[in-house]
Symmetry: C2
Subunit: 146 residues, 2 copies
DNA sequence: AACACTTCTTAGCCTAGACTAACTTTCGGA
DNA sequence: TCCGAAAGTTAGTCTAGGCTAAGAAGTGTT
């Protein structure tokens, strides 16, 4: 039974603070990941498609992309599609690798593909490097090389 | 290799929408879980302790607790600590059960206890019932009854 | 009983992320 | 060519969740 006693206030606070940092990064990761997917699969990433796939209004996409641009992850040519900077491309690649690993891991422990995709969407942003390493080890021990 | 092709826009949007719903519930769950822990371990849950353990200012706790109260999860007696309503108690119990299960699962797949606690903090809010069932089955197959 | 200390609240501010409505720009078809 | 539909932007609003600074309300000690 974990947590029979409370952690120290400092430890617990540190966990929540790190948690909130991960939450802040999550949107950026989801956007660049989706932009990268669209560029790869469709050849271009339009704001209107992002809006449709994120389940959000176009105005929200404009605002969010503005923040991504400010943060050096995305480049836009007005009325053209969206492009990733080097930093954005790197972040997208990381995010995709994490995402795919989490999906494969969840399937390996018994989830159906659809649920694995859904849950991975949230979990991928909160799994530490140590956790990802553990997941990868688990998969390789099972001989899973999908 | 999962996600060779993109999901339909509708499916993907539905996933992100559910994701955002989970995000909104996460704060409430963290607070009631912590309040329940404090009540159990210390006999009372003061705003000042919540602030310390959440890594947040007291003013933020006041505001957040106000929202929890509005949502019928918490009751306050000014200068007397915080109490959970029936709904709050139920939510806290669920949250704790999920949290503990995720921690045990992460340890079972090879994480150290500290990292498991940290990662569980984020993952517990994003694991579906199906995922939790799969985690529980995994543990019982391993004969883990910790 | 009074004072100092702690706790809590209030006021004012900020950012992210969401919305609708209205406007502008681009592109494709008649 | 021009004109309407689609795409994108802008303006204004909202909520959650953070912050600091300042003030009010208990609590405990002497």
């Amino acid at each position: 039974m974990p947590r029979r006693t409370l952690p120290t206030a400092e430890d617990q606070a540190a966990r929540f603070v790190r948690q909130r940092e991960a939450d802040r990064k999550a949107t950026a990761e989801d956007y660049v990941e989706l932009i990268a997917d669209l560029l790869r699969e469709e050849g271009e990433a339009r704001a209107v498609d992002l809006a449709r796939r994120m389940g959000v209004s176009q105005a929200t996409v404009t605002a969010t992309v503005g923040r991504l641009q400010r943060d050096g992850l995305v480049e836009t040519k007005p009325y053209r599609g969206l492009f990733l900077t080097a930093a954005g491309t790197a972040l997208a690649a990381e995010a995709k690798a994490r995402h795919d690993l989490v999906v494969r891991f969840l399937i390996a422990v018994g989830l159906d593909a659809g649920t694995a995709e859904q849950d991975a969407e949230g979990i991928e942003h909160h799994a530490s490097d140590k956790a990802l390493t553990a997941f990868a080890r688990f998969l390789s021990e099972r001989g899973d090389t999908t």
